[in-house]
Symmetry: C2
Subunit: 437 residues, 2 copies
């Protein structure tokens, strides 16, 4: 994707909160979400700018947006916009950048019309950004796969198919919730290795998984493939994703068909979909295979993807326990990784998914799988951070954690930054563990 005026580091918004150095939502970002306010219970599409939301339905009605995207901007979910495809997405972004830029929208009548469409973020409740049809979860971090494999099969951590196949499986769409939704500790069948029989009880080894979620654009028809060279254009944007996991349930249930009730009780995503165009300045080469790694098969190989399919995106996990919350402490960062350590690119995940003719649709969500990196503090879940509970996390207030306790809040944060580009934030993905009922 070509960089253009919407990426220009020097441009500022006339909304001053967007120009603060650490704002997640500067003029160069412009992510999309769905919100509602107490004043209007309708679900509305908005674009985030600083601490404001531009109500796109209102902007469309005011005649401020391109005709080709205005109907989609009036919908209660992003699916119709996702279906329009990359040229329409670019046109909308360019127009929003123009309307919100201090250089391109000087004080005057037009700025007043735009102002009338702004809503303070603090007055908005964020909703799921899209009607998610199918949700697929991948396993694209070789560090995560190796760590988890080491616990199960120390002599042979990585399965033989890992370096050939972007391993993935279908997840549950109905239980995807938006950031801020409390998540109940599930019951499940638990069977310690030395017990003769399982019991049905609240999960003990409750975990989070740090992932990136990617929303699909127009998609493909059933029976048709998406070539890797066209896959990047099918990606609308990304969110933070927490793939909550009941590890003890997973251990006992997952053979032979994969995780099921260990995962499908809840998945949390952040509300703002940061577009691939906003992230264009942060593309980096795909994972560098070493001599022992096979080259991907031709359908998973594309020169542009190899050169620029990776994403330099910092991803952090914070933990806030109930005790810390009472003590007024700040959330404690327990890991910081980067998406560029993923073995497969987002485009490879998408091209592989459609390689058998499986039809992808606007609003489908692809989870990357747990984002872990080569270093210890880059591990993206408690299972890895505590090495199955054998090395508990020590928290600043003196508490320890092997897995999550009731009342614990997990906060995912993400941002892209590099010299010469404006920092782009993903916002937050939060969820607090409720006790089992």
């Amino acid at each position: 994707m070509m960089l253009n005026q919407t990426h220009d580091l020097t441009r500022r918004s006339w909304i001053e909160s967007a120009n603060v150095a650490d704002s997640d939502f500067p003029l160069q970002n412009l992510p999309y979400g769905v919100f509602r306010t107490a004043a209007d219970p309708s679900a509305l599409i908005g674009a985030a700018i600083g601490d404001r939301i531009l109500d796109l339905r209102a902007a469309a009605r005011a005649g401020l947006l391109p005709d080709a995207v205005s109907p989609a901007c009036g919908q209660p979910e992003l699916n119709a916009l996702m279906a329009l495809g990359a040229p329409a997405w670019s046109a909308l972004r360019a127009r929003l950048s123009e309307l919100l830029g201090s250089d391109t929208c000087p004080e005057g009548e037009q700025r007043a019309r735009v102002s009338a469409c702004l809503v303070p973020m603090r007055d908005a409740e964020m909703l799921l950004p899209a009607r998610i049809g199918d949700y697929t979860d991948f396993y694209a971090s070789i560090h995560h796969a190796t760590n988890v494999g080491s616990m199960l099969r120390p002599e042979n951590p990585l399965l033989p198919n890992y370096k050939w196949i972007p391993i993935g499986y279908h997840g549950r769409g109905s239980s995807i919730v938006v950031s801020g939704t409390a998540v109940r500790r599930p019951h499940g069948q638990l069977k310690p290795a030395d017990a003769p029989a399982p019991v049905f009880a609240p999960c003990k080894n409750f975990d989070y998984e740090l992932e990136l979620g990617a929303f699909v654009g127009p998609g493909n028809r059933l029976g048709e493939r998406i070539p890797l060279a066209q896959a990047a254009n099918q990606l609308f944007g990304v969110v933070l994703l927490n793939d909550w996991s009941a590890r003890d349930v997973q251990t006992w249930e997952y053979q032979p068909l994969g995780p099921f009730l260990a995962k499908n009780f809840a998945t949390t995503i952040s509300p703002w979909v940061v577009t691939m165009e906003a992230l264009a300045p942060f593309h980096v080469p795909a994972f560098k295979r070493d001599g022992a790694d096979p080259a991907p098969l031709p359908y998973l190989t594309d020169a542009t993807d190899t050169a620029r399919g990776g994403l330099n995106l910092t991803l952090e996990v914070y933990l806030l326990t109930a005790q810390m919350r009472l003590a007024g402490q700040a959330p404690h960062r327990i890991s910081r990784g980067n998406f560029q350590h993923m073995y497969w690119t987002l485009a490879q995940l998408l091209a592989h998914h459609a390689s058998n003719g499986c039809n992808l649709q606007p609003g489908d969500l692809l989870g990357s799988g747990t984002v872990s990196g080569p270093e210890r503090d880059m591990r993206g879940c408690m299972l890895e951070l505590t090495w199955r509970g054998t090395e508990p996390l020590k928290l600043p207030g003196g508490e320890e954690r092997k897995f999550l306790a009731d009342g614990d809040e997990i906060i995912l944060r993400g941002y892209a930054e590099r010299p010469g580009a404006r920092r782009i934030g993903l916002g937050e993905c939060r969820g607090t563990v409720l006790p089992a009922n």
Copy 2:
């Protein structure tokens, strides 16, 4: 479920084609589907009766249906009706039985009004009956699990969790198609055990799987469970389901997260949803565990389910090859099994699914898993019938099959019958294999 007048064996319809002994759709069945006609491209809900479809939108508009269900009957899909719950389903069924019964709707004005809502089946194109949100596929036949396990692990065919957990996993919703849709042979990564590397090529070991699909009714809220005693009331009805499978893709990809591209290129269902109420006369005891089998955990145990949770439903698979079609031959039956051999009941599958608080929604589809029985001719897929291709099927015209060839059509049929009850048919689930593209 109590039997009532709608099950009365002696009652007849004034639509004579419904009274033929082998009709799938007698007055006692009244399954629901969605259709359209050349005359009206709208998707319409209908009930099948003999060789006719009663257009329920038209019937509702004519004031013939109960007020509580009329709005749902005017929708283009069954979801709203599924959401209404068992009492509303019963009320609609009772009313349809009355309108279509020769005793309850004698010749006259009312019969004429009903007649005006009838459409010949031959003029209708059947569509998917519901907007399927999430599709889950189970593995509830112990005979299937044992056969497949025997091929992979002769010394230990059944995994230790099988008799405790109704094993299931999430499938793909977008690629579910209605009977009659041709299915393209997928490409995928194939790796013979002795090859150093996989290749991306058309699947060679193309298979079908005979399953029953069950549609969910009102469902549950996220974080709440559905007790087994209430699970049967959550089941709206069943269809035939063909879980097409690329066995060679599956072998290479399925570790550690389960089948993915081997399955998600297409799943075919029959168009008529036969209600659980229509099948009430055919309930039988759940699978009889022997002394070596553990009793299910309490959340999977209910006296009524044990006594009546099984379903005496005959399921058949027919194969029609291109050569047979050219020669004018009839489809050849390659297996005949019965759903009463399933280890887990449909209600147990549903209660287990919601046991961690996973929210089920109207229109969600639960696949039973391949229905295989204790006898050789009860095996529900080619993998089992040909024992992984080692014992090819011999067809009447002299052809042999290890797996499916291009042009092969698989036809699933199902029906319930017993002395003292009217035969209830599921109709057909058909699909022809197209060559890879």
